[in-house]
């Protein structure tokens, strides 16, 4: 069978994903550039003192709060903050703890004492529980969790002491730059289109079919329902969401519930598979951008 609509582009005709932005480009600093002759500034991320000068160590924009100066790069690894919602993958099972890859510079810790085990919230963790650890979470399992603490070396300690956190079962995992995720009050969204998303602050996004919490007892905890068949319509919605989020991310637009819902709605004129074309992705991003702009004005 002939594949229809094969799209081939030469490299120099490649679509650039930039959304035209009205505001002027801010002053950009690059590594080694002098920010100021050092005069009592507090050195922070992306800056350092060399002799008498305060210099930038990454390429990005300068931000200043009183005497604190930092340069923020366009993209870097996830720097955890307490209270962030993260999605991560278990990489290692150790004594009393799991190691979780959360896209940060060191793997995060999930202690067995900072999770709700089945059978009562206030239960002593026994030696049996430690032996059972691989039953709860195995290497390769995906979890959602919250950042409980940040250590000096930048590694995180996670907790799942709420029913909304826990093991993830059926769905799609997406990775974007952590800086694209906008910080909001809520990072768990049940969208009207029939899918749920978790926007992890670490740039991991989880798309799953919406689970009826009253009947099935919530997504949290450590039960995994792999038997339930996800219907074709749900799959299509999830795939569309995925492509929409990738379209927004390719244009470096920040991701939060409104922008994703708008992108989803604007994408309806395309088939799901057509959303993989660069031009259509840009179109969806542009439409979303204009809609968000016009909404801000009113």
């Amino acid at each position: 069978m002939m594949a229809e609509n094969v799209c081939i582009n030469v490299a120099y005709q490649r679509t650039t994903f930039t959304v035209p932005i009205s505001q002027p480009t801010p002053r950009i600093y690059t590594p080694g550039e002098v920010i100021s002759p050092h005069a009592g500034f507090i050195v922070s991320h992306g800056t350092y003192i060399d002799g008498d000068y305060l210099k930038a160590s990454v390429a990005g924009v300068k931000e200043q709060v009183d005497k604190l100066v930092y340069v923020r790069p366009l993209k870097n690894r996830y720097n955890g903050e307490i209270g962030d919602v993260v999605v991560g993958r278990v990489t290692e099972v150790q004594q009393k703890r799991w190691k979780v890859d959360t896209n940060s510079r060191l793997d995060s810790n999930l202690l067995i004492s900072s999770m709700n085990l089945p059978g009562g919230e206030l239960r002593r963790r026994s030696v049996e529980d430690e032996k059972m650890m691989r039953k709860f979470l195995q290497e390769g399992d995906l979890i959602s969790a919250e950042v409980q603490n940040v250590f000096d070396d930048g590694s995180l300690s996670l907790h799942t002491r709420s029913l909304k956190y826990g093991k993830l079962s059926q769905g799609i995992l997406l990775t974007v730059f952590p800086s694209l995720i906008r910080r909001r009050k809520n990072h768990f969204h049940d969208l009207h289109c029939g899918a749920s998303i978790i926007l992890g602050n670490n740039g991991f996004i989880w798309i799953s079919p919406t689970i009826n919490t009253e009947v099935e007892g919530g997504a949290g905890g450590f039960t995994q329902n792999l038997d339930k068949e996800v219907s074709m319509e749900e799959r299509e919605v999830m795939a569309r969401l995925r492509n929409c989020i990738l379209a927004l991310a390719a244009s470096k637009m920040s991701l939060y519930d409104t922008s994703i819902v708008y992108a989803f709605e604007e994408s309806q004129k395309y088939k799901v598979s057509e959303l993989l074309d660069a031009e259509n992705m840009l179109d969806v991003a542009l439409m979303t951008y204009h809609r968000l702009e016009s909404q801000e004005e009113t």
């Binding site: 930039t18 590594p31 993209k75 690894r77 470096k252």
Partner: protein, 261 residues
């Protein structure tokens, strides 16, 4: 000197450059989506791809972990089709191992390694087409990839290869003739393999601090300083080109959007 002269009577090189001119540098940041940072760099006909992963948890043996600084891991490789002769090039051979360790030394000096204890940064470079100055092109490409990944650097680290060419037999300028060998900046393959001494330099370009200096063939100490000067100037010129590319990339890549959030 067999066959051809590296410098013509008019002071032009085989490819028409003057002795202090670089080849055309074209580069692009963020060419891959999977790594944290990536770049593609063409320096004349030398073409290099670089990818940077990290800083991330050390995979594999925990023993390599450093408690006070980040572990820099470099891998240099050449594509089978990169040179005139098509040849399978295994990654672990002596030449690429040497290149890898030189790259590691260079970037350990440039990266602010003390910021990420217990972590690891991987730098992968692949030469797609080799036309002289492979090491230099790799350093320049990897610098761009590191900047793209948002990894803190002291400064741009850039590299330049120079060849000391004997002066043309008959010169239009007698003063030039007296100076002896002439340093050719950013040597091409033809110049590198001509048998003249080569000097490869990697430096923190702004402050002019040397990171790596490698001499091939025998080089008279009297000639060293002048060649080094030329090479450092070459590094500075490369730095300006890279800096412009980084600024262009950030401006076109919606830094304002990321900045507003």
């Amino acid at each position: 000197m067999a066959g051809f002269d590296l410098l013509s009577d008019q002071g032009l090189r085989l490819d028409g450059r003057r002795s202090n001119e670089l080849r055309k540098i074209q580069c692009k940041l963020g060419v891959f989506s999977q790594p944290d940072g990536s770049s593609y760099l063409e320096q004349g006909n030398t073409k290099v791809l670089a990818a940077v992963y990290g800083p991330h948890e050390i995979r594999g043996s925990r023993a390599k972990r450093l408690l006070d600084q980040v572990l820099v891991n470099c891998q240099y490789s050449m594509a089978t089709f990169s040179t005139g002769e098509r040849k399978r090039r295994p990654r672990g051979d002596r030449k690429s191992q040497e290149m890898s360790s030189h790259l590691r030394q260079t970037f350990e000096a440039a990266i602010k390694t003390e910021l990420y204890p217990r972590s690891q940064i991987d730098i992968f470079v692949e030469v797609l087409q080799a036309d002289g100055g492979n090491y230099s092109a790799c350093v320049n490409a990897a610098t761009l990839a590191l900047v793209d990944a948002g990894i803190p650097l002291h400064e741009y680290v850039t590299s330049c290869t120079t060849v000391l060419a004997p002066p043309p037999a008959t010169s239009w300028d007698d003063e030039k003739l007296e100076e002896g060998e002439i340093a050719l900046v950013d040597a091409s393959h033809r110049e590198e393999t001509s048998g003249s001494p080569t000097l490869t330099v990697a430096a923190l370009a702004d402050s002019g601090r040397l990171v790596l200096c490698q001499v091939g063939q025998r080089l008279h100490l009297d000639r060293m300083n002048r060649a080094l000067e030329r090479a450092l100037q070459g590094c500075k010129d490369v730095r300006d080109v890279l800096d412009e590319a980084v600024r262009d990339h950030l401006a076109n890549c919606g830094i304002s959007e990321a900045a507003s959030s």
